[in-house]
Symmetry: C2
Subunit: 337 residues, 2 copies
């Protein structure tokens, strides 16, 4: 996906990222007709020793004496080889009749959490997860240092039904020169009320308790009232802060313990599901509306989004967040009890 | 999914349909951890002879002498047994602190296209497909006859990756007392320009030609400029009309021929993919903004929606619509040539 266009969806007032540079054969696409598991065996470009097949590393935690782009790392950030975005592409908007599109300016990186092929994120120690969180934060800050970048999205695809094409555990970050409109509800809430929606949610969830999963000193875990996905679970910092890059150093370990606990329980409860992790953070380098509060969303992909959901935009969730919270809380308490 | 709540997603200014009536076990959910095919064998509630396990039929084309809710039908509409919506639920909105939700008022129906378990939609004759289209139209008109209904969405989930849970070919219709906001771009376009976006698209696609797949007397087929899905293909009536229920009787056969042709070529080209069909139509029984134009969207589900797409709201499509149109057009011309 070298050349790409970010095309305006005039019907839905949204944008679509389209690779125009090459014709991919349908048989190259990740989902086979009947569905098979994500590749866990065979040659893995993310494994230690195979650094020569990835683009040169951007950041790596290296064992003293090891050489750049060789073995001897514990966590490693590389450019996404199949990125739809490039910093070499000048950012511009073009029109053609009623249609318009933007060039594919931006960044797409991959963070290899571990050199070990078979270790999933939750199977690492909390200390090891802290290393990953710290690297994600470092990359967030570095990308935000480029004035042309206005929005940074970090995410994880785990398993076939979450969009993963490689089994080796990793996360990804994209950085874009424009801000998606997904948080329009939260910004509208702040504009109308003068308050942070997420801070208000935290207040209500603590009082109500029916969707509350866990609280540590600085973080709160709950299943959101309008969970789009079955067993969707959020981790939020209790103190208002809009920028993931400002996560205090002293809270990285605490967050990593909470993240490991939630993932471990969820993976056990739901029989090793496909899942996504999303780190939401405010726009950078641009005057933006208030209403952002950085937080982490985790959602297992137990149900495929069907035609009616794509048509109406409404997610259908057969599992109530109250029940999801109850089961996750019981699982966490069972482990720690 | 008997009791349900339509909960407001305050972050994204959207709605989520949540079943609150019962606790479903994760193992009851359709997607197993590693993915298996949709059930094609074993007991099928949609097969002829098994009418006793479905709710009583709403509409059926019956062989003379056959009895209601027994064998002897060629197409059959039944209530969705697992509907999240019911006409018995009074329509109301409730609030709880900052949260709000609507009751699950509405209709959810299933149209069994054929009594034959193994016949996919495109494998039917065009005449047989006309019977299905006519039944969908009849149900649309009947549902629109209830003043409480404001929006009707008809769709098809085919295959595991399109959200199907049963293999027997069928379509579904939901009818709701409120109007989703998915067409905000199209209505804004009409408000600003005084013109129908879809009519303008048809003009530009005919002139441009690079995404044009096929034209019959009354219908046009193209891959949209901002295709969200690889090989997404639309069928639109050339003459402006906002309501699928007003599809002229004399055009049903022509539409069915076009639909069969597109599906046959797509299924062949993409090796029997999972796909969705969506029939978009204007709201009913309510003063609504201009900008609607009824049409059919067909999108194969070759790629699973990943974390970045859910986070940003941007679809990522590695197949350009120009290439998709070229290959589909060549396949159609190859068949008819």
């Amino acid at each position: 996906m070298s050349a790409s266009e970010i095309r305006k969806d005039l019907v839905r007032d949204n944008w679509v990222v389209i690779a125009t540079g090459r014709a991919i054969k349908p048989t190259d696409l990740p989902v086979p007709a009947q569905g098979t598991a994500v590749k866990k065996s065979g040659f893995c470009p993310f494994c230690e020793g195979n650094e020569m097949v990835t683009p040169p590393e951007i950041l790596a935690n290296r064992i003293p004496g090891s050489k750049e782009n060789g073995p001897g790392w514990t966590a490693r950030t590389i450019p996404n080889k199949f990125s739809a975005f490039s910093l070499e592409t000048p950012f511009k908007t073009e029109t053609n009749g009623i249609y318009s599109y933007m060039s594919g300016f931006g960044v797409h990186e991959v963070v290899l959490e571990t050199p070990e092929h078979d270790t999933e994120l939750h199977e690492n120690s909390a200390e090891k997860i802290s290393e990953v969180v710290a690297m994600l934060k470092a990359r967030h800050l570095s990308l935000a240092g480029d004035e042309r970048i206005k929005f940074i999205q970090t995410y994880k695809n785990k398993g076939l039904f979450a969009g993963a094409s490689l089994g080796h555990s990793h996360m990804q970050t994209i950085a874009l020169p424009y801000v998606p409109d997904e948080f329009r509800g939260a910004t509208e809430y702040a504009r109308n009320s003068g308050n942070c929606l997420f801070c208000h949610m935290i207040d209500q969830e603590r009082k109500d308790g029916s969707r509350l999963v866990y609280e540590s000193e600085n973080f709160i875990v709950f299943c959101p009232f309008a969970s789009r996905f079955a067993h969707e679970t959020w981790i939020l910092p209790k103190n208002h802060g809009e920028d993931f890059g400002k996560l205090p150093e002293e809270n990285v370990a605490e967050l990593s313990i909470v993240l490991k606990m939630v993932l471990e329980s969820m993976v056990g409860l739901l029989n090793d599901p496909s899942y996504n992790i999303i780190i939401n953070s405010a726009p950078v380098n641009v005057a933006h509306e208030p209403g952002y509060h950085w937080y982490i969303e985790i959602f297992p992909r137990l149900i495929v989004q069907a035609g009616v959901e794509i048509a109406t935009g409404y997610h259908m969730n057969p599992i109530s967040p109250e029940w999801a919270a109850e089961t996750l809380k019981a699982s966490i308490e069972g482990k720690s009890g």
